[in-house]
C-alpha cells in the first residue's frame, strides 16, 4: 500500500472502532437502566465522573507527564540535531514549532503530548539522541509530530472517557445490586428479569472489552503515525532503522507508567508478554517487526 492509502485506511478503521464503541456504551446504559428500573441515569452519572477526570488529563496532562518524567527543555546549541530536525519537520507539516524536552535516561524512547498543535510537546530520551543518527531522529520526531497533527492525543482522551464511563457504569450497577437489590424484589420483578441477568454478565465483560477496544485503537494510531510520519520525511527507512535500534535495546524506561505508555513511540515496558496467542490484544503498540515491515514496503 502507498503511504496515502495507508493513512486513509487507518482513518477509516479508527472511525469504525469509535462508532462500535459508542454503540457499546449506549447499549450498556440501556440494559442497566432496564435491569434496575432507573432509566438512563447510569450513563449520565458515569459520563460526568469519567468526563471530569479526563478533563484534568486533557488540560494539564502535558504538564503532569513532563513533571512525572523529570524532563528538561532542549536547546538548539546542546541538542542540535533534535532541535533542527523538529524545526524542519514543522515547516514540512505546516505546524507551529512544538516545545522540545529531553529526559535523562539511557533507554531509547520518545513521546508526544499536548491537546492540539499549539500546545504540542515532543520529548525524547538522551539515550535516543546518543544512539540514533540524524535521519533516524528525524523519523522518530516525524512520528511524534504526526500524532499531534492527527489529533491522536485528543482522540485517546475521548476514548478514555468512554472506557471510564463503561467502567463506572458497570461498577455502579454491581454496587447497586448489592445494596439496593432487596427493595426491588417486591415491585416488578418480572419486567426486569431478563435484563437483570444480561446486566450482570455485561457489567463483568464490557469493561474488559472496552479496554481491548482502547488498546486496538491505540495500535491503529501507531500505524497511522508511522505512515503520516513517512509522508512528512519522504524517507520511511529513517524510522524503520530507528525502530530496529529500539527493538534491540533491552532497557526499560524508568519514568513510564501504565497511564502514559500509549504516548511513547514504542512500548516502554518492552512487552512483558504473556507468551500466549492473545498477548497482542493487551499491547498499546503493534509489534515492532510489523511496523518495520510496513515502513519498508512503502
Amino acid at each position: 500500500m502507498s503511504i496515502r492509502s495507508q493513512i486513509a485506511s487507518n482513518v477509516v478503521k479508527t472511525y469504525v472502532i469509535m462508532t462500535l464503541f459508542i454503540c457499546v456504551v449506549i447499549g450498556l446504559a440501556y440494559v442497566f437502566g432496564q435491569a434496575t428500573g432507573y432509566g438512563d441515569s447510569y450513563l449520565g452519572i458515569a459520563l460526568v465522573i469519567s468526563f471530569a477526570s479526563s478533563l484534568v488529563s486533557y488540560f494539564w496532562g502535558d504538564k503532569i507527564v513532563l513533571a512525572m518524567s523529570k524532563a528538561r527543555p532542549a536547546t538548539r546549541k546542546n541538542e542540535f540535531d533534535f532541535y533542527t530536525v523538529a524545526e524542519n519537520l514543522s515547516i514540512a507539516g505546516g505546524l507551529p514549532m512544538p516545545k522540545l524536552y529531553v529526559i535523562e535516561d539511557s533507554a531509547i524512547n520518545a513521546f508526544a503530548t499536548g491537546r492540539d498543535p499549539q500546545h504540542a510537546i515532543v520529548c525524547v530520551t538522551t539515550g535516543l539522541l546518543d544512539r540514533l543518527d540524524r535521519r533516524e531522529i528525524e523519523g522518530v520526531v516525524a512520528h511524534e509530530l504526526s500524532h499531534i497533527k492527527n489529533y491522536d492525543i485528543r482522540l485517546m482522551v475521548v476514548v478514555a472517557v468512554l472506557v471510564g464511563t463503561v467502567a463506572y457504569a458497570s461498577d455502579m450497577f454491581l454496587r447497586n445490586l448489592w445494596w439496593g437489590g432487596r427493595d426491588r424484589d417486591n415491585d416488578d420483578r418480572n419486567s426486569g428479569n431478563v435484563f437483570f441477568i444480561i446486566g450482570i454478565i455485561l457489567a463483568v465483560i464490557t469493561p474488559l472489552i472496552a479496554t481491548l477496544i482502547q488498546l486496538a485503537m491505540s495500535r491503529k494510531r501507531e500505524y497511522l503515525a508511522d505512515a503520516s510520519g513517512a509522508l512528512l520525511t519522504r524517507y520511511p527507512e529513517g524510522l524503520a532503522r530507528a525502530l530496529e535500534k529500539i527493538s534491540k535495546d533491552k532497557e526499560v524506561l524508568e519514568g513510564a507508567t501504565n497511564a502514559t505508555a500509549h504516548l511513547y513511540i514504542a512500548d516502554p515496558f518492552k512487552g512483558k508478554s504473556f507468551g500466549a496467542w492473545f498477548s497482542g490484544l493487551f499491547d498499546t503498540h503493534p509489534p515492532i517487526k510489523d511496523r518495520i515491515r510496513i515502513l519498508r514496503s512503502m
Partner: protein, 182 residues
C-alpha cells in the same frame, strides 16, 4: 412559485461561488506564505556561503574556479524571482557546493577545523529546511491546483481569474545526494 424556485437556484449558485472564492483565496494565501518560507530558507543558505568560502579559501587558495562558481551561483540565486528561476539557480548552487566540498575533502586540516565543521552542519541543516519548505509549498500548490482544475470549479475559477500555480521543481536527487557528510 417559479419565482421562488429561480430565486432559490440563484441563491445556491451564489453560495457556491462565494464559498469557492473564499476557499481559493485562503489557499492562495497559504501558497504565498509557503513561498516566503522557501525564500527565507534560501536566503539563509546564501548567507552561510561567504563564510564557508572564506574558510575553505584559507586552506585551499589556488582552487579559484571552484570559488568563482559558488559565488556566481549564489548571486544568481539571490537575484532570481520566479519559482522556476529560483529552483534552477538553487540546483546550480547545489552543484557548485558539491565541487567545493569535494575539494575540501583533500585538505585534512580543513576537515579538522571546528569552524568549518560547524558551518557544514548548519549548511546541511539549511538544505534540509529548503527541501522541507519546498515540499510544503508543493503540497499547498497541489491542493490549490486540484481545486482550480476540477469541474465545475474550473469554470468559475476561470471567470474569477484564478490560475494554476507553478510547482517548485528540482532535480530529484538533490534532496539526499547534496548532504555534505564526510
Amino acid at each position: 412559485m417559479p419565482i421562488l424556485i429561480v430565486g432559490g437556484v440563484i441563491f445556491l449558485i451564489a453560495l457556491f461561488v462565494w464559498s469557492l472564492y473564499n476557499g481559493l483565496i485562503t489557499n492562495a494565501t497559504q501558497i504565498d506564505e509557503a513561498w516566503s518560507q522557501i525564500d527565507v530558507q534560501l536566503k539563509r543558505r546564501a548567507d552561510l556561503i561567504p563564510n564557508i568560502v572564506s574558510t575553505v579559501k584559507g586552506y585551499a587558495k589556488h582552487e579559484k574556479s571552484v570559488f568563482e562558481n559558488v559565488t556566481k551561483a549564489r548571486s544568481a540565486l539571490l537575484s532570481a524571482e520566479t519559482p522556476e528561476k529560483m529552483a534552477k539557480a538553487n540546483d546550480q548552487l547545489s552543484g557548485a557546493l558539491k565541487n567545493l566540498f569535494a575539494v575540501a575533502e583533500s585538505y585534512p586540516q580543513l576537515r579538522a577545523n571546528e569552524n568549518f565543521l560547524g558551518l557544514q552542519k548548519e549548511l546541511s541543516d539549511t538544505e534540509d529546511k529548503v527541501a522541507y519548505s519546498r515540499q510544503f509549498y508543493n503540497s499547498t500548490v497541489m491542493d490549490f491546483n486540484v481545486k482550480v482544475k476540477l469541474f465545475p470549479n474550473s469554470v468559475i475559477a476561470n471567470m474569477l481569474g484564478f490560475k494554476e500555480r507553478p510547482f517548485f521543481k528540482t532535480d530529484e536527487e538533490d534532496r539526499k545526494s547534496v548532504k555534505v557528510e564526510f
